[in-house]
C-alpha cells in the first residue's frame, strides 16, 4: 500500500515537472523561423538529439524562443548570445552536461565529467592564438546535428572516429604549429593494421583512436597517467584482448596479457617499471599494430637483442626455420610468456628445446652438439660457483679477495656471452666463448687456493718460531739452574 502511494506521488510530480514544459510550451519559435528560412543549422538540428528531447535553440544561443519577432527574440535584453565563440561554445554545452541533476531530468545515462577531463587533457591546453582551448566540444561532436555515440551518423561512432581525429592529426601543417615532432601518419598506419582494416570494413568492435587514447581526457604518451604510457599499455590492450566474450568471433587467443605479465618483459615493465622493457606496441607496433611475420620476428626481437638476432640470422637455423614456417625466436622462447632463458633451455634434457627437433635417432650429430654445448655451459657455471666458494672461504679466513671478486665478474660476463653465442648454433664458436670463462675461473680458483694456503702456511711459520723460542727458554732455564748451582756450591 505504502509502496503504491509513493510510486503514484512520484509519477504525478514527474508529470508536473516534465510535461508542463512540453504540454504548455509553445513551439520553439527559433526553430520555426530558421527551418523555413533554410540554412544548414536548422536542417541538421532536425535530427539532433537535443531537438528530440525538446531543447530549444535558445538554450544554447540565448534569446526569447516564444516570440516570432526577430528583434525581440534575438535581443540582448532577452539574453541572446549569438554564435558563441571560443571557450563559450564549450561553456554552453557544459552548462547542462556537467550538471548531473539536469542530465537526470532528461533521462540521460551519460557521464558528466567530460569537461573536467578535457581541462586536464592535452586538448584542453590553449590554442596558438592563446584565446581559447585547442578543442571545443563541437570539434568532434558537431554543432547542430549531434547524435548519440552509438548512432552510426555520429562523428564519434567507432567507424567514424579515425576520420574525426585525423581531421587535425593527419594535417601536417596544422600539427606542426603545436608539436612539430609529433608524427602525422597515425591514420595512414592505422589503415594497414588489423584494427584499421576491420574498422574500414564496417566492424565497430576493433580498436580505434578512442579505445586506447580515451575520449575527453587524452594525455600525452609521456604522461605517467596516460593510458598509452608504456607501463599502462599492456592493461589498455588487454581491455579487449583479454575479454573472451568480446574476442570470441575473432578466434585468436586471449591469454596474451596473462602470459606477458608472468614473463621477463612483463615483470620488468609492470613491476620494476623498467621502461627499457617492451610493451605490446614495442613488438606489434602502435597504430600499424600487427603481429610480426614469421621471418621478421628475429628483426623485431633484435631491436634490443641485437647480438642474438644477428647471430641467429647468420646461423643455419634461419633458413631452416623460415622454410619450415617456424616463427624464429618464438619457437624456443615463446612470444608472450618469455621467461628468463636459463641454461636449462639448451641441450637434450626434458625441459630443453633442442632435442624437440634434433632427436637422437633421427639426427645424432645435432643431438650430440646440443648435448655438448649444454655440458660446456654447465661446467662453466659449476666452476664459477666453486671459485666463488673458495674466494668466500679465503675472505672468511681474513684474506683480502677484492681482486678475485673483480675477476669473477669476467666469468659471469663470459657466461652471458656464451648464452648469446648459443644463437650461432656453432659448437666451435660456443666452446671458444666458454673457454674464455673457464680460464678466468681457473685463475681465480688458484688465487683463492693460494690465499687459503697462505693462511695455513702461517701456522707452520708459527710452529718454527715456537720451537725456537721454547728451545731458547729451555736452554736459558738450564743456564739459570747452572748459575744458581754454582752460587750454592761457592
Amino acid at each position: 500500500m505504502k509502496k503504491i502511494l509513493i510510486q503514484t506521488l512520484f509519477f504525478i510530480s514527474f508529470c508536473i515537472f516534465i510535461f508542463p514544459k512540453n504540454a504548455s510550451a509553445k513551439e520553439d519559435q527559433c526553430y520555426v523561423c530558421h527551418s523555413t528560412l533554410g540554412g544548414k543549422p536548422a536542417e541538421l538540428f532536425k535530427n539532433d538529439i537535443h531537438y528530440k528531447k525538446g531543447i530549444s535553440c535558445a538554450d544554447c544561443h540565448g534569446g526569447d524562443n516564444q516570440t516570432d519577432d526577430m528583434d525581440k527574440a534575438m535581443s540582448k535584453s532577452a539574453g541572446f548570445k549569438g554564435v558563441p565563440k571560443g571557450d563559450n561554445i564549450t561553456a554552453a554545452c557544459v552548462r547542462c552536461h556537467a550538471d548531473s541533476a539536469m542530465m537526470a531530468k532528461y533521462g540521460a545515462k551519460i557521464p558528466t565529467n567530460q569537461f573536467e577531463l578535457l581541462k586536464g587533457s592535452v586538448h584542453g591546453k590553449l590554442s596558438i592564438d592563446g584565446t581559447e582551448r585547442i578543442v571545443q566540444c563541437i570539434t568532434c561532436h558537431n554543432a547542430h546535428g549531434i547524435v548519440m555515440v552509438d548512432n552510426p551518423a555520429s562523428p564519434v561512432y567507432p567507424l567514424n572516429i579515425p576520420q574525426t581525429c585525423g581531421k587535425c592529426h593527419s594535417n601536417a601543417v596544422y600539427m606542426r604549429s603545436y608539436n612539430p615532432a609529433l608524427p602525422v601518419d597515425q591514420l595512414q598506419k592505422y589503415r594497414t593494421s588489423v584494427h584499421g582494416m576491420r574498422n574500414a570494413k564496417g566492424d565497430p568492435k576493433p580498436a580505434q583512436c578512442e579505445s586506447c587514447h580515451g575520449s575527453h581526457g587524452i594525455l600525452s604518451v609521456k604522461d605517467v597517467r596516460s593510458s598509452v604510457y608504456p607501463t599502462n599499455i599492456p592493461g589498455t590492450c588487454s581491455k579487449c584482448h583479454s575479454n573472451k566474450q568480446y574476442m570470441a568471433q575473432y578466434k585468436i587467443p586471449t591469454d596474451q596479457y596473462a602470459n606477458y605479465s608472468k614473463s621477463v618483459h612483463g615483470i620488468a615493465l609492470l613491476q620494476k617499471h623498467d621502461l627499457g622493457a617492451p610493451a605490446c606496441n614495442s613488438c606489434h607496433g602502435n597504430h600499424a599494430a600487427t603481429p610480426p611475420g614469421i621471418e621478421s620476428i628475429s628483426e623485431v626481437c633484435g631491436t634490443c637483442h641485437a647480438l642474438n638476432a644477428e647471430l641467429f640470422s647468420k646461423s643455419p637455423h634461419k633458413k631452416a626455420f623460415d622454410e619450415k614456417k617456424l616463427p624464429e625466436c618464438e619457437t624456443c622462447h615463446s612470444n608472450h610468456d618469455i621467461v628468463t632463458a636459463t641454461d636449462k633451455l639448451l641441450g637434450v634434457t626434458p625441459n630443453a628445446v633442442c632435442s624437440k627437433c634434433h632427436q637422437e635417432d633421427k639426427d645424432p650429430k645435432g643431438y650430440m652438439e646440443a648435448k655438448t654445448m649444454r655440458q660446456l655451459i654447465d661446467s662453466l657455471e659449476s666452476s664459477e660457483k666453486s671459485a666463488l666458494a673458495l674466494v668466500n672461504e679465503a675472505e672468511q679466513k681474513g684474506m683480502e679477495v677484492n681482486e678475485e671478486l673483480f675477476k669473477l665478474r669476467d666469468a659471469r660476463q663470459a657466461r652471458l656471452e656464451s648464452r648469446t653465442m648459443v644463437h650461432a648454433f656453432n659448437l666451435d664458436k660456443f666452446k671458444a666463448t666458454v673457454d674464455k670463462g673457464l680460464k678466468v675461473t681457473s685463475t681465480v680458483t688458484s688465487e683463492a687456493k693460494a690465499a687459503i694456503h697462505e693462511y695455513y702456511f702461517r701456522r707452520i711459520g708459527l710452529g718454527i718460531s715456537v720451537v725456537i723460542i721454547s728451545f731458547l727458554a729451555l736452554v736459558l732455564y738450564l743456564y739459570i739452574k747452572r748459575i744458581e748451582k754454582r752460587k750454592e756450591e761457592s
Binding site: G276, T303, C304, L416, I468
Partner: protein, 151 residues
Amino acid sequence: MNYSNEKPVRKTRRDFLKYLLMGGIAGLVISIFYPIISYLKPPKQNEVEVSSVKVGKLSEIEKDSGRIIRFGNKPVILLRTKTGELKALSAVCTHLNCTVQFRKDLELIWCACHNGKYDLNGRNISGPPPRPLEPYRVVVKGDEVFVSKLT
C-alpha cells in the same frame, strides 16, 4: 775431590750450554728481525688505494681506444679519444649492470646485453639504459695516469 778431572768436563759442558744459548739467541733474533725487515720493505702496491688508482703510463694508452680497469672492486672504462683526451666512466651499465665496452667501429660505448648505447661522455643515447654512466676523474702526473672518484 778430584779437581783436575771434573773441571775439564764441566768446562766443555759449560761451553756447550753457552753455545746452545748463543745459538738459541741467534735463532730468536732471526725469527724476530726477519718479519720486521720484511714488514718494513714496501709491498708491491705501495699504499692503500681507496680514492685513486694508478692505471699505467700515458704513452702506453693508444688514441681512440678504451679499456676496463679495476677501481676497488668495480670496473671503470678508461677511454682515450681520437684527439688524445682521457675520460673515465663507470663501466657498469645503468640498465641491468652488465659490463660495457668501447666500440671503435661505432665510436661509442656499447652494452652487449640489450644493445644499450652511450656516447663517449657517458650519456645514454639509445636502448634501455635509463641513466648516463657515472664519470670519474683522470689525472696525469708526468707520464703516470691516475683515476679517482669525482667527489
